[in-house]
């Protein structure tokens, strides 16, 4: 017990990492479920429906399948790098989530450590970019070590695409940094030049409004950076078999899969922090009824699941839906308790915004055709980079102009 009181930072960090790892791995699994359901409904079909109630156990089934499949390694592959590449990709994707604040640093554990951010550093944004820039190696090394034509070409194209769009990604963010004046995530959200407060009393001061061009450039560069449609030629099935992960099977393939979704989540978290106000609520703080929004939304979900439980025909699905109803209802009732309701506001709004951006990602995937590789590269270098640079120059000019006029 003395250890716990003498090392507050370490103990709090271990607890936060354990909880966050659990939540992120579950979120990754259910993001695949969400993607399949959303794409299916856009295409007028049901999606996974049989495996659990409404397909809710599909991620579990997929995970078990990946675990038990035979792990085939091509005989001429470079063993060390072949095994290292998926670990590198997944671990970097998960490391980036450690820097992200899910709620205000005011909410703390009893020993004074902030509850909603694993590591709160002053130069957080810079280190996040450092982690994403190392992520290129997972793809390049996977392509090389498989020792096959499709994999090498896919790996080279994929990594060239990633480093090209990384430049535009970084430059489109600098406009926000000029407005806020700091690299710290808490300053970007809540600081003196941050996103707290309202214009005209009802428009929140989120950076998406003054920096709309930057936001659009960021979203486009982010979709290209994470190799999603419409920018996923290097790993499309009809083009290059499967690109850099052609020769991977079983759990290593699952790791690449999870790494792609982890990158998606990281990039969405960064978009909400920089442009959509992070964990701030869009409603003014004086509207105290918004404290009950998390519990109300959970109770609505419980009611929907209860209705489905009653109208469901199959016994086992009815049981599963009953469990979900109880969980959602229990969560809703817990969130009615005032200290928890006040504390859960930050993560609730953060999660809602991330889900909105992920829905946009999945919507893009279901709707758009993909770019050809030369179109992709010329788009990145000849259109997106000049637009980001122009955004930066104009933002800098607008900030400096009043100072120039007054001498």
């Amino acid at each position: 017990m003395e250890f716990i009181s003498q090392h507050p930072v370490l103990v709090a960090a271990v607890v936060k990492i354990a909880v966050l790892l659990f939540i992120v791995m579950t979120a990754l699994a259910y993001l695949t479920w969400l993607e399949r359901k959303v794409i299916a409904h856009i295409q007028s079909r049901w999606g996974p429906y049989n495996v659990g109630a409404h397909g809710l156990l599909q991620p579990l089934a997929d995970g078990l399948k990946f675990l038990f499949k035979e792990d085939v390694m091509p005989p001429v592959a470079d063993r060390l790098i072949y095994t290292l590449a998926p670990f590198l990709a997944l671990s970097l994707g998960l490391t980036a989530i450690a820097l992200i604040p899910f709620g205000p640093p005011i909410v703390q554990f009893p020993n004074g450590q902030p509850m909603f951010v694993v590591s709160d550093i002053n130069l957080g944004l810079l280190f996040l970019f450092a982690i994403t820039s190392i992520g290129v190696y997972g793809v390049a090394l996977a392509g090389w070590s498989s020792n096959s034509k499709y994999a090498l070409l896919g790996g080279l194209r994929s990594s060239a695409q990633m480093i090209s769009y990384e430049v535009s990604l970084t430059i489109s963010v600098v406009g926000v940094l000029l407005l806020a004046g700091s690299l710290d995530f808490n300053q970007l959200i809540n600081g003196p030049n941050g996103q707290a407060g309202y214009w005209l009393h009802f428009i929140p001061k989120w950076n998406v409004f003054p920096q709309i061009v930057g936001f659009l450039c960021y979203l486009t560069a982010a979709i290209a950076e994470t190799n999603r449609i419409p920018f996923d030629l290097p790993e499309a099935e009809t083009e290059l078999v499967a690109g850099f992960h052609t020769e991977y099977s079983a759990f290593k393939f699952a790791m690449f899969f999870m790494a792609e979704y982890a990158n998606m989540i990281t990039v969405s978290c960064l978009a909400t922090i920089l442009f959509l106000g992070g964990w701030l609520s869009p409603f003014p703080a004086s509207w105290t009824w918004q404290n009950y929004l998390p519990s109300v939304s959970l109770l609505l979900l419980a009611a929907y699941c209860a209705w489905n439980t009653v109208s469901e025909m199959r016994g086992i699905a009815r049981l599963q839906l009953g469990v979900v109803t109880l969980l959602a209802g229990g969560g809703g009732l817990i969130c009615l308790y005032p200290p928890i309701a006040a504390g859960i506001q930050g993560p609730f709004w953060f999660t809602a915004k991330i889900l909105a951006i992920l829905f946009f990602y999945i919507w893009m995937r279901a709707t758009l055709p993909r770019f050809r590789y030369d179109q992709l590269m010329s788009f990145g270098w000849k259109l997106l980079l000049p637009v980001s640079l122009a955004n930066l120059v104009i933002t800098a000019f607008v900030i400096v102009w009043p100072l120039l006029r007054h001498g």
Binding site: N122, F129, Y137, A140, W144
Partner: protein, 169 residues
């Protein structure tokens, strides 16, 4: 035995191990990976010396862009196993001990020099954001001319690489 000394020894061992792997590896791709390991260890050493901005710049630019360039070139040229030539006996049995002796002498003189006696305070003892702000002010005021000159240098390097890589049409 506080945490700074442990971290220093861990990173020092990693960087020396990476440098040895660079020398001893048989394929260039393994040497490239060893060099990336060295750069990451050196970035953590920069953090221990209280320079977080330079650590981040090292990872973003050096380990995340320059080494990617090296890895691309190795992949494109399909650089395979290196040929080994036999060194002369003098180089192996005379040169290595002499080199080691030289290293010991340099280490001894550095260890007892006056600047060597200063203690490096660990990272986090100063305000990182304020240091970064001061660093950027120095870059844009005192060192503005070298800053602009290096941007022209990068432009020249891009043009040079484009000209060299263009196919004869």
């Amino acid at each position: 035995m506080n945490i700074a000394i442990i971290m220093f020894f861990a990173c020092a061992l990693l960087s020396v191990a990476g440098a040895m792997l660079l020398i001893l590896a048989r394929e260039p791709i393994h040497s490239a990976l060893a060099l990336i390991l060295v750069m990451m260890a050196v970035a953590v050493l920069y953090l221990l010396l209280g320079a977080p901005f330079i650590a981040a710049v090292q990872i973003i630019v050096y380990a995340g862009a320059i080494m990617v360039l090296f890895v691309f070139v190795i992949m494109l040229l399909n650089a395979g196993v290196e040929e080994r030539t036999d060194f002369s006996r003098i180089a192996k049995f005379g040169g290595v001990p002499l080199g080691f002796l030289l290293l010991l002498e340099i280490a001894h003189s550095l260890y007892h020099s006056p600047v060597g006696k200063a203690i490096a305070n660990g990272a986090g003892s100063s305000n990182d954001a304020a240091d970064t702000a001061k660093l950027s002010e120095m870059l844009f005021r005192q060192y503005l001319f070298p800053f602009e000159a290096t941007s022209i240098l990068i432009l020249i390097a891009i043009l040079g690489a484009l000209v060299l890589a263009r196919k004869e049409s």
